[in-house]
């Protein structure tokens, strides 16, 4: 553990205000709040979408109207405020939509400034880290880099709207195949009103030359974000995709209902890493983002491999279950998660591993940390179908509690329909021992640093799965998020 004590001190000194809470003032082209068919037609028309996509959206909307809103959180410390779907504005784009910037120079300097503050100097970061950034600023991509280099390899990496225009056949073929339009309440809503997102296609046998990355950011007041991400790795392809989020400080609950679909063909591998740091609300539970996301990967071909890694430190409320459908024989699904809740945050996260093919394997490592009045829940499913001969699953979910008012909960479901399956599930709950802190203090390490060391050690297995620069950011995030929770 090599924590730079000065850097840590600086972070403590900044106090518990949300570090990245600021608002960029851009005239957004926003539709008035409310949702009906005309809004969906407006979005579709604005994006110049083909007829089939509009129909797909409308069908999803129709189904959504008939669905019941889930309301499972039962924790008294932060009641679930009903979402007024008519109060949300479903479309907001930077004004210069008609005249999209062609290069970084054309990008609104104010936007670039925002990225600077976020610690993502677009061009530098892209160049230094070898990352192509498809930055989503309020629902519409404004800059995409390294397009040429990717093109050389035949990799398609663009915003979803562009994909609809340039590669309609691919979008039509794969959209909604993993997460059907009416999969669940929030996925249906997303299918009806999604504005943009990312599209990735890696052709046969190609190993994507760089890590792909998208930064999402909620900006305009009252604009829910409905991102749609679709990643297809064709036979033998490999891609590592990073998704990171920060959001400006807001006092109203904002809804974030994204859908991510991954499809891995024969021998393909997709690695999807997330750092989620939406605004969590203040210490009294006012404000914050509702993060209700549907993420699912399909291991379509034999020997395919999908790996989800996530660090969840933000959002007032998170419901998120990145899942794998292991359809191909010998396919592998992995899920590594760190979820941290402080103040009055609630994180309800986990995964579903559905074993269909023979010799399929899945691995689940979930680490939950609760502090303050935070509640952390692991909710997962391991399902072994009758034909899934020799399926293997190992699940480990550990919880760490800090303070007397937080909660840690585990709700796994294991369904096995084949006798050759080997399933193991382990869970434990613990706290940071006083003796551990004492040991560190004795050696001149402050209680804050000791906690951050112990927490980082607790999460090590998951952080090790993250790409390097992401892992660094994740460690910092954990430290910042745990401020004031020692005691």
């Amino acid at each position: 553990m090599t924590t730079d004590p000065n850097a840590t001190l600086d972070q403590w000194a900044e106090g518990s205000d949300y570090r990245w809470g600021f608002v960029t003032d851009i005239d957004a082209d926003t539709v008035p709040p409310g949702l009906d068919e005309s809004v969906i037609r407006f979005i579709s028309a604005k994006k110049n979408e083909p007829e089939w996509l509009l129909e797909w959206r409308l069908k999803a909307y129709e189904r959504w109207l008939k669905m019941e809103e889930p309301e499972w959180p039962h924790f008294p410390d932060r009641p679930y405020g009903p979402i007024d779907y008519q109060a949300i504005s479903y479309y907001s784009a930077p004004k210069s939509d008609e005249d999209r910037p062609k290069s970084l120079d054309e990008v609104d300097p104010k936007l670039l400034e925002t990225y600077e503050k976020l610690g993502i100097p677009l061009e530098e970061r892209a160049a230094l880290a070898g990352v192509a950034v498809d930055a989503v600023f309020d629902s519409v991509s404004v800059a995409t880099t390294f397009r040429d280099k990717l093109k050389e390899h035949g990799v398609i990496f663009c915003s979803f709207s562009e994909a609809v225009q340039d590669h309609p056949e691919l979008v039509k073929k794969y959209l909604g195949t993993v997460v059907p339009a009416a999969d669940n309440y929030f996925a249906a809503l997303n299918s009806a009103v999604f504005t943009d997102g990312s599209f990735v296609y890696i052709p046969k046998g190609v190993r994507c030359p760089m890590e792909l990355s998208t930064y999402f950011r909620i900006n305009a007041l009252n604009t829910g974000q409905f991102e749609r991400t679709l990643i297809v790795a064709d036979e033998g392809a490999y891609v590592s995709y990073l998704e990171g989020c920060t959001a400006p400080q807001r006092d109203e609950n904002q809804l974030h209902a994204a859908v991510v679909e991954l499809i891995a063909m024969e021998d393909a591998e997709i690695k999807y890493s997330t750092i989620q740091n939406w605004y969590p609300g203040d210490e009294n539970g006012v404000g914050g983002i509702y993060n209700f996301v549907t993420k699912r990967g399909l291991c379509e071909g034999d020997r395919s491999h999908i790996s989800w890694t996530q660090v969840e430190t933000g959002s007032a409320m998170t419901w998120k279950y990145p899942s794998c459908i292991l359809k191909g024989d010998d396919s592998i699904g992995e899920f590594y998660s760190v979820a941290l809740t402080n103040h009055r945050q609630q994180a309800d996260t986990g995964t579903k591993m559905v074993h269909i093919g023979k010799n399929t394997r899945s691995n689940i490592v979930s680490k939950g940390i609760s502090a303050g009045y935070g509640h952390n829940t692991y909710r997962g499913l391991v399902n072994i179908r009758r034909g899934a001969v020799n399926a293997r699953n190992y699940t480990q979910c550990d919880s760490m509690l800090m303070g007397e008012t937080c909660g840690a909960h585990t709700f796994p479901v294991i369904e096995v329909g084949n006798d050759t399956a080997h399933i193991e599930h382990e869970a434990s709950t613990s706290k940071i021992g006083e003796d551990q802190i004492f040991y560190c203090n004795q050696r001149g390490i402050s209680p804050e640093d000791a906690v951050s060391m112990i927490v980082n050690g607790f999460c090590r297995e998951v952080l090790a799965e993250l790409p390097m620069e992401f892992a660094v950011e994740a460690r910092k995030l954990l430290e910042v998020s745990l401020e004031d929770s020692v005691g």
């Binding site: 294991i414 369904e415 329909g417 006798d419 399956a421 080997h422 193991e424 599930h425």
Partner: protein, 415 residues
């Protein structure tokens, strides 16, 4: 009494039989039960001593026998003894119902479960055991609920209330048995209420007939410095569902909840467990094992709940499923719900076939595959059966298990 019955009836009527979309009934199909028109048993039902004998334990164990819920005075030998009062529930309801106040139906929650709701609404008879303070029950009490049914479907609602006062010790064994093929619905509810410093053991053996749906409840409530155990051994019946709920309400309480179930043909076994740690310094151990053959299915849902302030809780829950055929199916939902930070809670679940290496080890030493397999199954079950204290009950369970395994003679010869 009337109030309880009424409330339970209201609860039952508002829930009725839930569909499989209901979270707690997701793995149990109640459509057949809901579609059946049950009648109460004929109050003049009698059974012969012969039909009972295969299910009895030690001959000196005091007995309380019911047939289709109807008390059998000729077969019952139990009487109150010094320090231990044993009564028919019907008698207590008739003579001094105030003794049941705050006890009967106070811990088995009938509000959210149709089986318990129906059972509570239909309370008629059963057994009330009260162990006085400082008293020790010398021999275990054996309560037999024999279900034989008749030409039309009947429902029976056996009820047991055990109250163990401070510093008392006792053991109660229930057997829910039958050999008939008549359609029967049995919804036994047992409540154990332990004061402080109590040592209480409870066993429930289930060997129902081929068409007897068994939807049971066991509720425990423990005071300080108690050690209370309950063990459900499920061997026969097309559907055996047991809801077990333990509440640790006094400090330094220790709850031990065990279950062993053996499924074959197309039987379904379900265990729902909940342990509530309400106060600091309590300990609970839950271990449930399912052995599944043929097309049998099993579902386990276990929750450890630790209330705010219940510090130093030490809870361990395990659920192990052994699939002996490729058509059997098991589901495990081991859950933790924790609101205190200084606790040690773990849960583990495994589902799988027999260890191939262990099989190889035994076969390499000249033990035929059948016998090796049976030995391993016995060892698997042994972790539960070895803790069954009454010897005659343990022997009966071991014999039942062994006779269902292939190469039984081989195993017997080795012992």
């Amino acid at each position: 009494m009337t109030a309880i019955r009424k409330a339970a009836m209201n609860a039952y009527e508002s829930i009725l039989w839930p569909s499989m979309r209901d979270e707690s009934w997701r793995y149990t199909d109640t459509r057949a039960i809901a579609a059946t028109d049950f009648k109460s048993a004929d109050p003049s039902t009698v059974i012969k001593a012969d039909s009972l004998s295969p299910f009895l334990l030690d001959s000196d164990m005091p007995l309380m026998v019911f047939a289709d819920g109807v008390y059998q005075p000729d077969l019952s030998t139990a009487t109150s003894m010094p320090g231990v009062q044993i009564h028919r529930l019907a008698d207590v309801i008739a003579s001094n119902p105030e003794r049941l106040e705050g006890r009967l139906a106070s811990h088995a929650d009938y509000q959210d479960d149709p089986a318990c709701g129906l059972s509570t609404a239909m309370i008629t008879d059963g057994v009330v055991v009260e162990i006085e303070a400082e008293a020790t029950m010398e021999t275990p009490l054996h309560i037999v609920f024999f279900n034989q049914g008749t030409t039309h479907p009947i429902s029976t609602h056996p009820r047991v209330l055990i109250v163990a006062n401070d510093r008392s010790t006792g053991t109660v064994i229930e057997s829910h048995v039958g050999t008939s093929e008549q359609v029967i619905l049995s919804t036994p509810v047992t409540e154990l209420i332990a004061g402080d410093n109590v040592n209480l053991d409870h066993y429930r053996m289930v060997r129902e007939g081929a068409a007897t749906w068994h939807l049971g409840d066991v509720a425990l409530h423990q005071g300080a410095r108690t050690e209370v155990s309950s063990c459900v051994l499920a061997f026969d019946g097309p559907l055996i569902r047991t809801r077990m709920r333990g509440t640790l309400a006094g400090e330094d309480g220790n709850a031990i909840l065990h279950g062993l179930a053996m499924g074959h043909e197309d039987r379904h076994i379900e265990n729902l467990l909940r342990v509530n740690h309400m106060v600091p310094h309590c300990r609970s151990r839950e271990s449930f094992k399912h052995i599944l053959e043929d097309k049998s299915t099993a579902a386990f849902t276990g929750r450890i709940y630790v209330a705010e302030g219940a510090q130093k809780t030490d809870a361990v829950q395990t659920n192990r499923n052994l699939l002996l055929s490729n058509t059997s199916k098991a589901t495990a939902r081991p859950q933790l719900e924790i609101y205190a930070d200084d606790v040690k809670c773990t849960h583990g679940a495994t589902i799988g076939e027999l260890d191939q290496e262990a099989m190889f080890y035994l076969q390499a030493r000249g033990i035929p595959a059948d016998a090796a397999r049976s030995m391993l199954v016995q060892a698997f079950a042994g972790e539960i059966l070895d803790d069954v204290a009454p010897e005659s009950l343990r022997n009966q369970a071991q014999l039942l298990l062994r006779n269902r395994l292939p190469a039984a003679e081989h195993l017997a010869a080795m012992e």
